[in-house]
Subunit: 117 residues, 2 copies
Amino acid sequence: MRAESDDTGKEVSGVLVALADPIRRGLLDLLAELGEATATTLAEQFPVSRQAIVKHLAVLDAAGLVTGSRVGREVRYSLRPESLDAATRWMSSLAADWDRRLAAIKRTAEAAERDFT
Amino acid sequence: MRAESDDTGKEVSGVLVALADPIRRGLLDLLAELGEATATTLAEQFPVSRQAIVKHLAVLDAAGLVTGSRVGREVRYSLRPESLDAATRWMSSLAADWDRRLAAIKRTAEAAERDFT
DNA sequence: TCGAGGTGCAACAATCTGGTTGCACGTTAA
DNA sequence: TTAACGTGCAACCAGATTGTTGCACCTCGA
């Protein structure tokens, strides 16, 4: 019935879901600039409430893209690139795989045409 | 207020949304194997109805990942790797950017520590 | 000490998403 | 010709997402 066959699938899946939202991509971008920031600070740069940002950060955290550490009364978030690297590698291999198979299909088609003409 | 700054953002966004769903990833996988297939054929390999598959294919089509062409009474779908390549490149550059900035932050932190001790 | 700032939690509303079913329409093949 | 097949469209449903607001709880600094 065809399920998720790749073993890296689960981790990569979370990253893709996380990256599918523009606000979350913006948060990653902003964190790359700032290095570290609190949810409240980050929220000032987006047109949504702090709570909304907190939820987005939770998604990013679950995907392993971000991590938060408590310092006194605040929580500072920062990037954690490993998961993104994994997703990039997965996409690259997927792209390579497509190319490989498409090339094979193309060869078959050309061979068929040669036989025909 | 921070919007999508990158110009490639819009195209890439669609691809990420498309890839965020496991069934859609499965469809891409299957199309890579088969080269070409109809919605009805594809639906047999998944635990959902043909109509659900048609909707997924529409999303993939909108993202530029697949294309369908009518042949008689059926519509044959096949892969179109360009968009995936674009997304891969985008993610790679994003990852590289993170690394660059993280390295800069790390250097700053180390310099501060050196000054302190 | 005590007020202000940052966080966490919960309830709620609205929209999106993924899925279903039923049916009409064109195309193919017996 | 006509029955079967593949497709397209529309209505509809349930649950997930995204956002809000209100409030309680710590922690810091004057």
